[in-house]
């Protein structure tokens, strides 16, 4: 367990800079998820922390000690790879005990620690098997066991669930979370799946193009995204984002695409201001007297109803928890609560409303 600090980290591959002065403070025992689209630099940042890539400039401090120029083995970290990276010619027990063996631990200690980790991860019956004899989920647990056995200061996870099927992914998500509660070790977890980020993290770091877009708790990012990118990235289905101007009465919104939206009360911006307006699909409701819309597509998920609507030429997605009997082509009226609206500057795309 240790705090981890990344100070102004940059990384260039030849002439291409992929990380631009990233600074993140991670508290002792915190579960931090780095999330962002492909190519945003999240895996590169994780590899910098692990020491698998050399940092171009800046620093990485684990427990207050600058480790940015140390060999991976000297950083006291453990990493779970996307491919699991289990040694195919070693049994589960040998895989899990390998780091102890390399440190010169006695075989008694190796056996004891491997046994403990196997107990935590329910791997006792599999210790003599080889990785090829295991299922995807079991391999994933062995990879975690290998990390646990080391008792490192920081755990690093590089998209560890992306090779698993949807059901197993959900199960492993809660297993990793439970494991974190038990071990209380600092975790840095990389994923491109915002659901994983929302459900697992104490703190989420949203990245784009080698920059940090926002750092905060899952609900902070959900309730108050710092910019249009975060607003569109966090939440599923994604937030509806519409370009336009605040109407003269501040209660309507004139869309750039044509037409206008009516809100239940005044929007928190000055009339005539050019903005990007965001509203989450789950905040849109049906009413008798609101903005007229046409149902374009209905997608029932079982628990919810996802409805794609045409509102004055713009697409809006709504999520209804009730089982509504809607039909494609049906005319409806939408209630858009002003207090659920997120406003962003049209130029800078940064958040306007509090």
């Amino acid at each position: 367990m240790a705090p981890l600090t990344i100070q102004q980290a940059t990384k260039s591959f030849g002439g291409v800079q992929v990380l631009h002065g990233v600074t993140i403070d991670i508290d002792d025992g915190e579960f931090v998820v780095l999330v962002g689209p492909s190519g945003c630099g999240k895996s590169t940042l994780l590899r910098l922390i692990a020491g698998l890539e050399d940092i171009t400039s800046g620093g990485i401090l684990i427990d207050g000690k600058d480790v940015s120029r140390l060999h991976p083995k000297d950083r006291d970290i453990a990493m779970v790879f996307q491919s699991y990276a289990l040694y195919p010619h070693m049994t589960v027990a040998e895989n899990m005990g390998f780091s102890l063996r390399m440190r010169g631990a006695k075989s008694d200690e190796q056996r004891r620690k491997v046994g403990q980790a196997a107990g935590i991860l329910d791997l006792d019956a599999l210790l003599d098997r080889y990785p090829r004899q295991l299922s995807g989920g079991q391999r994933q647990r062995v990879a975690m066991g290998r990390a646990i056995v080391r008792d490192p200061k920081v755990f690093l996870f590089d998209e560890p669930l992306s090779n698993l099927d949807a059901k197993l992914r959900v199960q492993m998500r809660s297993e990793i979370r439970t494991l974190h509660k038990k071990l209380k070790t600092t975790i840095v977890y990389v994923t491109h799946d915002q659901i994983e980020a929302m459900t697992m993290a104490d703190k989420i770091v949203v990245m784009r193009g080698g920059h940090v877009e926002q750092i905060g708790s899952p609900m902070t990012l959900y309730d108050a995204p710092a910019n249009v990118f975060v607003a569109g990235f966090i939440g599923s289905p994604a937030m509806n984002l519409l370009k336009g101007r605040i109407g003269a009465d501040a209660q309507s919104f004139d869309l750039d695409a044509g037409g206008a939206l009516q809100f239940t009360s005044a929007l928190d911006a000055r009339p005539g201001q050019s903005v990007i307006l965001g509203i989450r699909p789950e905040d849109v409701t049906l009413s008798d007297n609101g903005s007229p819309a046409t149902v374009k597509l209905i997608e029932p998920t079982g628990a919810d109803l996802h409805v794609n609507l045409d509102v004055a030429g713009s697409d809006i997605t709504a999520v209804f928890h009730e089982r509504l009997s809607l039909k494609e082509g049906q005319e409806v009226s939408l209630e858009l609560p002003a207090d659920c609206v997120h406003l962003f500057d049209a130029e800078t795309e940064t958040r306007l409303s509090a």
């Binding site: 692990a50 698998l52 060999h71 991976p72 491919s83 990276a85 040694y87 010619h89 390998f98 390399m102």
Partner: protein, 279 residues
């Protein structure tokens, strides 16, 4: 999906089987001929039509193994082959591993250069080796022929092993580094055991090349280090009466290599096909 009917498929299988039998027979004919010749009296060896029924004799096999310094030449061949394998495979594997782990744009030109060396006629390489050997006073010594054979064998070993190392995910190197391995330990403990099928193939090819090599052995060896292929060539000469002896020598030279191949053929087949499909 195949549109071929079951009887059609069965007919195709039979045609392929017969074609393979014919092919195998054509390939084995010289060998069968050599075996028969080695068991015949020289007078029966070249009769037309060939003598099918004859009284087999092991006289020439015994003569090969007990006279003519056959065992001495065999030992030379084995020492030189073993030396070549023991230097060529580790050196080639290390080079191949390094090439598989550096950026492709750096490895590409080196691999291409190695390929060019492989294409180079060996005859043209033999002359510089002879000149260097003479200059260093190493003609007719084991190290000279071993080094020469290692040199001509390296491109193949490196190319072969490079392919094997490329298939071993780099994540394993990185996991080993995080688990506490130095680069050398990661190679020795994690990567090398996984490359064993490739190394077996590389060792076998290296062994075959050095054991059967004639040109370099002819030019770089003398009375002390003459190898079997060079010695066998001088067994019979043009004297037809010695052809049974030559044939017995040819069988003798093949025996060690056939034994090795039989013992390791499982690894050979697996090694040559390993990684052909994604596992």
């Amino acid at each position: 999906m195949s549109a071929q009917s079951y009887p059609g498929r069965r007919r195709t299988t039979w045609v392929i089987f017969i074609a393979l039998c014919v092919f195998t027979f054509i390939n084995l004919t010289p060998l069968i001929w050599a075996v028969l010749t080695s068991l015949k009296d020289p007078r029966d060896a070249f009769t037309i039509p060939p003598t099918i029924i004859f009284e087999p004799t092991l006289k020439y096999h015994i003569e090969v193994w007990t006279e003519n310094d056959f065992v001495f030449y065999l030992m030379n061949s084995l020492i030189i082959s073993a030396g070549t394998v023991f230097i060529s495979v580790p050196a080639g594997s290390l080079a191949a591993y390094a090439l598989s782990r550096i950026p492709r744009r750096s490895a590409g030109p080196i691999l291409s250069a190695l390929f060019t060396i492989r294409m180079f006629p060996h005859m043209l390489l033999a002359i510089p080796f002879f000149v260097m050997g003479t200059f260093l006073n190493m003609i007719d010594t084991y190290p000279l022929l071993i080094l020469a054979l290692v040199a001509i064998n390296q491109p193949f070993t490196i190319w072969l092993m490079h392919g094997f190392f490329l298939e071993i995910p780099r994540d394993l190197d990185e996991a080993a580094a995080i688990d506490g391995c130095s680069n050398w330990q990661a190679f020795r403990i994690v990567i090398l055991p996984l490359a064993r099928p490739g190394m077996t193939v590389a060792a076998l090819f290296s062994l075959l090349l050095s054991y059967n090599e004639f040109l370099f052995a002819l030019i770089l060896t003398g009375t002390d280090t003459k190898t079997l292929p060079v010695a066998i060539a001088s067994f019979g000469g043009e004297d037809i009466s010695s052809w049974s002896l030559s044939a017995a020598g040819a069988i003798g030279i093949m025996l060690p290599i056939v034994l090795v191949m039989l013992l390791l053929q499982r690894h050979l087949v697996r090694g040559l096909t390993a990684g052909a499909v994604k596992g």
